[in-house]
Amino acid sequence: MSERLFYANQLAISRTLTRIENDRSVAREIIGSLEERDYHVVGITGSPGAGKSTLTDRLALLSSKEKRTAIIAIDPSSPFTGGAFLGDRIRMKSSTKSEEIFVRSMASRGKVGGLSPSIYDAVEFLGRSGFDRVFVETVGAGQSETDIENLADVVLLVLAPGLGDDVQTMKAGIMEIGDIFAVNKMDLPGASQLATRTGAILEMSGRELPIILTNSINGQGVEELHNLIEKALGELDISGAIEEKRRRRTLYNNLNSVYQIIKEDFSENAKLEELMNYLLENRRLSDES
């Protein structure tokens, strides 16, 4: 099937994504059968309730005017029952109505770090099927869900006022990732202070990154944010740094696959012990050298 046709056929995309999500080796086969293609991944992360989904909805709509756009929104699976309540569509009123945008929810299925086990394959598949922009919204991130950094070309960190003082912004983890910061809910008290504090903290760590105030409900600041994302992606393309991002995405895709193989296929296998001993032994040797 040609790339263009595949993009237009949402049913085919949707059914293929299910196969990718449920079987890793099938996923590899499917991706291998499609030609490589350049596309961009925009990651959106931040605390639960910061406004990620609503903001993603608006950004995707703006993006879809020029680019073929897809969204994957991840919500947590229960560590106890494996069940999940996926509620991102509720906030994505424009994108779910649009004929142009493909929206898919995914459960994290036991993966920590804010993503889901099959996310790398799902994103690569969408890119190769003809989408130019894939927005990936992580689970509500606490302090250490930073995996999105390895998947996305540009990461948007969404903050909202009222979730703690500036000690929170000094902690390691989530505040160390992000290429663009959005302080959402700008109509609430404390928003501009949060933006100032975040700027000060970033400056201390030598990272001067754009910080923008937004209101995802009425759309204030969103167009500017969209332009910042486009600009960041454009700069990656021009400088050639995008190639490094893509290389890293492939590397982490493979690493993720290895991890899943160990977890699912080798957890009760004698070979696992052999593999672990090999890795530990090599680690010791490389530490000594």
Partner: protein, 130 residues
């Protein structure tokens, strides 16, 4: 790894989603992945969600009295989009004679007030295993 995916949708104009949420939570606790659409969805939006999410089964919560019309629309659209193999169940205030009609129309099951959650979970598991 395969998990049962269920769409819980609120088509039509009634604003009462407690029932839909209770059922969604029960399915979640039974280990299913539940996609909840939120209130006031058109038949179009419900079918589109089912298509994009590739769910195994669809649940419609309707308390407005417009169940006949809504179900007919949803089933027709599903056929049009090529996803009519997915079973559909309905929950809400549905008179017994309408429930019979709905089943004739192709609705798998109709759950009224007071249905034990376990009955809903078991019915969905049964339908998906087929």
């Amino acid at each position: 790894m395969k998990r049962v995916k269920v769409l819980v949708a609120k088509p039509g104009l009634d604003g009462h989603d407690r029932g839909a949420k209770v059922v969604a939570m029960a399915l979640r606790d039974a280990g299913m992945e539940v996609i909840y659409t939120g209130l006031r969805q058109s038949a179009d939006e419900v079918v589109k969600a089912a298509l994009q999410e590739d769910v195994d089964i669809i649940g419609l919560s309707i308390l407005s009295g417009a169940h006949m019309r809504i179900c007919e629309k949803v089933l027709n659209l599903m056929k049009e989009k090529g996803i009519d193999e997915k079973p559909v169940f309905v929950g809400g205030i549905i008179p017994a004679e309408d429930a019979l009609e709905l089943k004739k129309m192709g609705i798998l099951e109709v759950f009224g007030p007071g249905t034990p959650l376990k009955a809903i979970v078991d019915s969905i598991k049964g339908a998906v295993d087929k």
